[in-house]
């Protein structure tokens, strides 16, 4: 038994990764296409509201995919994922509060704050997952 054999992912790892990818990848593609469409096409009136909110559908699809991913995880992987999500949630709250405080003081751009909050929360979550995964060996 070599070190490489100890680094090899298990069948459960591979099955879970494949399932996570097949759940989430179509949603990511639809999200990117719709987001690009929202930027290019700009309808008037009510149609604009519906068109602008359309990327929410693949976003909800991603939430569903994440829920399924959590359900497939074994007990230790589930703890890692939930801890990483807790860190991402905390970072999102702090960023949202920062944006709110700046907005209340008439500083900064609310749209920009919202984007930073979203991206910052997402990156914190993914970074926490990567660090915890690496620490777990």
């Amino acid at each position: 038994m070599t070190e490489d054999e100890n680094e090899r992912p298990s069948r459960s790892d591979r099955r879970r990764n494949r399932a996570a990818l097949s759940d989430a990848l179509p949603a990511v593609i639809v999200l990117v296409v719709l987001q690009a469409g929202v930027e290019i096409i700009d309808p008037e009136g009510t149609a604009n509201t519906i068109w602008s909110l359309l990327p929410l559908l693949p976003a909800l699809w991603l939430v569903w995919a994440q829920g399924r991913n959590l359900g497939r995880a074994d007990e230790f992987q589930r703890i890692l994922q939930l801890e990483a999500m807790a860190i991402g949630f905390g970072a999102t709250m702090v960023l949202a509060l920062t944006g709110g405080l700046l907005d209340a003081a008439d500083l900064g751009d609310p749209r920009q704050s919202l984007q930073i909050t979203f991206i910052g929360g997402l990156l914190s979550w993914l970074a926490a997952l990567a660090v915890k995964g690496r620490a777990a060996g």
């Binding site: 298990s10 069948r11 459960s12 074994d74 230790f76």
Partner: protein, 67 residues
């Protein structure tokens, strides 16, 4: 909680991934249990006992400071 997983696995010349395959868990999970970073729940502990053909109490023992 202390455990004898590494010793029993090595005796069978299994890699962590081999054991993870038998338990249907991630390799990281096996590593975390072996290194004492994670104490398994009862269903996984029973599965470990079944895989190694030993009773649970032969696999796990309390740390000296908690016994």
């Amino acid at each position: 909680m202390k455990n004898r997983l590494r010793e029993l696995r090595a005796a069978r010349r299994w890699s962590q991934a081999d054991l993870a395959d038998r338990l249907d868990v991630s390799r990281q999970t096996v590593n975390a249990i072996e290194t004492g970073r994670h104490d398994p729940g009862l269903p996984l502990a029973f599965k470990l006992a079944e895989v190694f053909g030993e009773p649970i109490e032969a696999l796990f023992s309390p740390n000296d400071d908690t016994s």
